[in-house]
Subunit: 170 residues, 2 copies
DNA sequence: GTTGGAATGTCAACAAGACTGACTTAATGT
DNA sequence: ACATTAAGTCAGTCTTGTTGACATTCCAAC
């Protein structure tokens, strides 16, 4: 069934990579690569009593200091109960600081403490090291393609947020 | 801070994509894209009493019919106890058949039943549809780069298994 | 041939992290 | 005043990972 593409009369080149087998390879590549992607931070986290959820919270608070809980919720795509459990331990352990909003006192603005920034840095360094190696091995053009495909794979809402984060830092 | 690369005297082009901000974007792209990657099958699975783990088992049994539990274990990267729970429900529900090995009676060889193949197809179709759209939107060259970077991101052991699967089907 | 170790798979109990649902508190805004 | 919003909490459930203990089968050394 993977040979059916030879039957397509014209444009075979542009359709070649859309066979089920090609798509399947992409799916499996995503699966295996994501494992590598999370492996290094996971090893560090195992030493603390934290998990991947804590890493994600630290990452996005670091990237958008002062963000409120609702925004973080939307980015992470979890329920507030789930995020709250994580946030409570991070605040309790002195990695995250929660300040009452000055304009709207209902909101809580989140910041990393020195201690929280240190852990975030350790986790990020490990993850970035793998990313850097992958980028180097694959080359600049591959990286551009990599990002284009990943972006096309996102839900529109997540793509919007992805760009918003970039612009917020740009 | 994203402008710092202009300071690098030579080879700016080859280093441009290795700034911390570029790596951070890649990390966030992986995070958001993986969410999209799993979203469609997850919605289907919610209708059944199955989860992502069941999907993964069905996927790889479908790709390597007759595989034994140990091999599946190594591919999925979980403990045998964890896989066993998933396998038990799939076998109990008649989606997977487990045959005792003829040469080595300790081994169990796994096959999808008609029913199991049908669910696998439904899940795969949903996931492939998103993948196909992403590939189409990004273009063939981007897809090649996408795969190169993902492969470079894998642990060597997983890269080996990834290739083994491709050759087994090739 | 028996036996002891290694490999394969199963059962049971537990923990992390997600979920829903119901509720409280405080601040905002109409 | 009253409804809405932001945040947090409590309780209960589900999936999916973990360890530990155990049964079965195979194989190789004795």
């Amino acid at each position: 069934m993977a040979d059916q593409d030879h039957a397509s009369p014209a444009g075979g080149e542009t359709l070649l990579f859309l066979t089920d087998e090609q798509l399947r390879q992409g799916i499996e590549a995503m699966f295996f690569a994501y494992r590598g992607f999370t492996a290094d931070p996971d090893m560090i986290l195992a030493d603390y009593d934290y998990g991947r959820a804590h890493h994600r919270a630290l990452h996005f608070i670091n990237g958008a200091p002062g963000t409120n809980v609702n925004n973080l919720l939307a980015i992470l795509g979890v329920t507030k109960q789930s995020l709250n459990r994580v946030l409570r331990t991070l605040i309790g352990d002195g990695l995250v600081e929660s300040r009452v909003g000055r304009s709207d006192k209902r909101e809580r603005h989140l910041y990393l403490t020195e201690k929280g920034a240190a852990l975030e840095r350790a986790l990020s360094d490990a993850q970035r090291a793998r990313m850097r190696k992958a980028y180097r091995d694959a080359g600049p053009e591959a990286v551009a393609g990599f990002k284009r495909v990943l972006e096309a794979m996102m839900d529109p809402e997540m793509r919007r947020r992805y760009h918003a984060l970039r612009e917020g830092r740009g």
